[in-house]
């Protein structure tokens, strides 16, 4: 992807929006921009035309480290086999309350 042609594109930024106070920022898409300030402005114009948020984060896409989907099986297997981490794993008689 590092051809001369793609280098002429402005860098790509991933956009995250906090839709209202109390909620986490959530990924909504991406924008191209030459610098962080313009990335925020572009993100506002592209992703918040209808009061979608009260706060924006932008992160250079190239700075995101992702897990490998091909390895998803092994990666998340430890959680899958440990059902005893869930409360429903334990049998408690109905007569016992507030537990």
């Amino acid at each position: 992807m590092d051809t001369a042609a793609t280098k002429r594109d402005w860098p790509l930024w991933e956009v995250f929006i906090r839709s209202r106070g109390g909620l986490s920022h959530k990924h909504v898409g991406s924008v191209h921009a030459p610098d962080p300030e313009l990335a925020i402005r572009h993100a506002r114009d592209v992703y918040t035309r209808r009061m979608e948020g009260v706060s924006l984060w932008v992160v250079r896409s190239s700075d995101i480290v992702a897990s490998d989907p091909a390895q998803a099986g092994e990666m998340f297997e430890p959680a899958e086999s440990k059902v005893y981490r869930h409360p429903t794993f334990y049998d408690i008689p109905d007569i016992v309350k507030h537990i």
Partner: protein, 336 residues
């Protein structure tokens, strides 16, 4: 707006990976696993393994869709300075701005497949990329703005709603955002048509004339008839497409005819009748020669549209250069 798959060959949309990557013989086991995931209505994400033909088809479809949103701003943009009231002007401006947004969501979705924004922009400006045939018709009167919102955005909605469940995750998510925004586009258009249809005799005539000119091109927006759409079967199997062109076209006719009746306008089709047996409308033959001519770039204002795009790109060059120079300066300062 939207585009249907207009061409069987790849037009100027080379994915880097397909052209220069070490293309191994695709592992049959990977292909089976992929097809099983798609058949189970799972979403495919950018880094997942996918057949090259799936990638190519998506790059073509999504980029054509993006180009349609961008070129689609032109026929309406022409009326921004001539809107009949401040309210209409503000509304039209908001709609046109939405279409720019749609183009950007879609370009980003296409980029996740390994094509670049630059490549897509270049293909469009060089006249090598396709976009929806509908935008190569002129907007002659204010009633055309009503007809476009009502019919063109209406047809776009009909096509885009099922694409919210298309198998490629980034495309599906872009469609969810787009669909949320399209409804206002159609309603503002219909509101214009209501005002014109209930206005002076001259306004009423303009409304009818707009319907006359936009009706058939709107039906063509759904793409060639199923028997001439050889890619449909594969695209449906891969859940890139969820309905055939003819199914969507029929739905559109059934929904839109009563809306025309409410306006007191006549759909320009002498063969249009209600069919009691099928519970649907029968409609007249579509002039597919006209459609293919427009696809070939012979639409009434095709040259004008391309010229406008190229000029806009050239005239915006100084802004792009200034932004880049500013960033270079900032980076240099940070480094010092």
């Amino acid at each position: 707006m939207y585009t249907t798959e207009l061409s069987k060959s790849d037009i100027g949309m080379k994915s880097d990976r397909t052209k220069s990557g070490p293309v191994a013989v695709e592992d049959a086991a990977l292909l089976d696993a992929f097809e099983a995931r798609v058949a189970a209505d799972e979403f495919i994400e950018p880094k997942d393994w996918m057949p090259e033909a799936y990638r190519r088809t998506l790059v073509r479809q999504i980029s054509q869709h993006a180009h349609s949103e961008i070129v689609g701003m032109l026929p309406e943009g022409a009326w921004l300075t001539r809107a009949p009231s401040l309210r209409r002007k503000a509304v039209l401006l908001a709609k046109v701005q939405d279409e720019a947004g749609h183009g950007l969501y879609l370009y980003c979705a296409a980029e996740t497949l390994g094509t670049s924004r630059e490549q897509m922009t270049e293909a469009l400006n060089a006249g090598k990329a396709k976009y929806s045939t509908i935008f190569n018709y002129p907007t002659l009167t204010w009633a055309d703005i009503g007809a476009i919102g009502w019919l063109v955005d209406g047809a776009a909605i009909m096509n885009q709603v099922p694409l919210q469940r298309t198998s490629y995750g980034p495309y599906a998510r872009a469609m969810v955002r787009v669909c949320k925004e399209e409804s206002f586009h159609q309603r503002q258009g219909y509101e214009i048509m209501m005002a014109m249809a209930n206005g002076t005799p001259a306004q009423r005539e303009m409304a009818q004339d707009a319907l006359n000119r936009w009706w058939w091109p709107s039906l063509m927006m759904f793409g060639p008839p199923d028997e001439n759409s050889p890619n449909t079967a594969q695209s449906m199997r891969w859940r890139i497409k969820r309905d055939t062109n003819d199914e969507l076209r029929q739905k559109f006719v059934d929904i839109t005819v009563p809306q025309a009746t409410y306006l007191g306008l006549t759909v320009p089709d002498a063969d249009l009748t209600w069919n009691d047996e099928t519970g649907r409308h029968d409609y007249g033959a579509i002039d597919w020669e006209e459609f293919y001519a427009v696809v070939r770039g012979e639409g009434p204002v095709a040259k004008e549209r391309m010229k406008a795009r190229r000029e806009a790109w050239a005239e915006g060059a100084w802004v792009r250069e200034a932004a880049q120079a500013y960033e270079a300066k900032r980076a240099a300062r940070l480094a010092a």
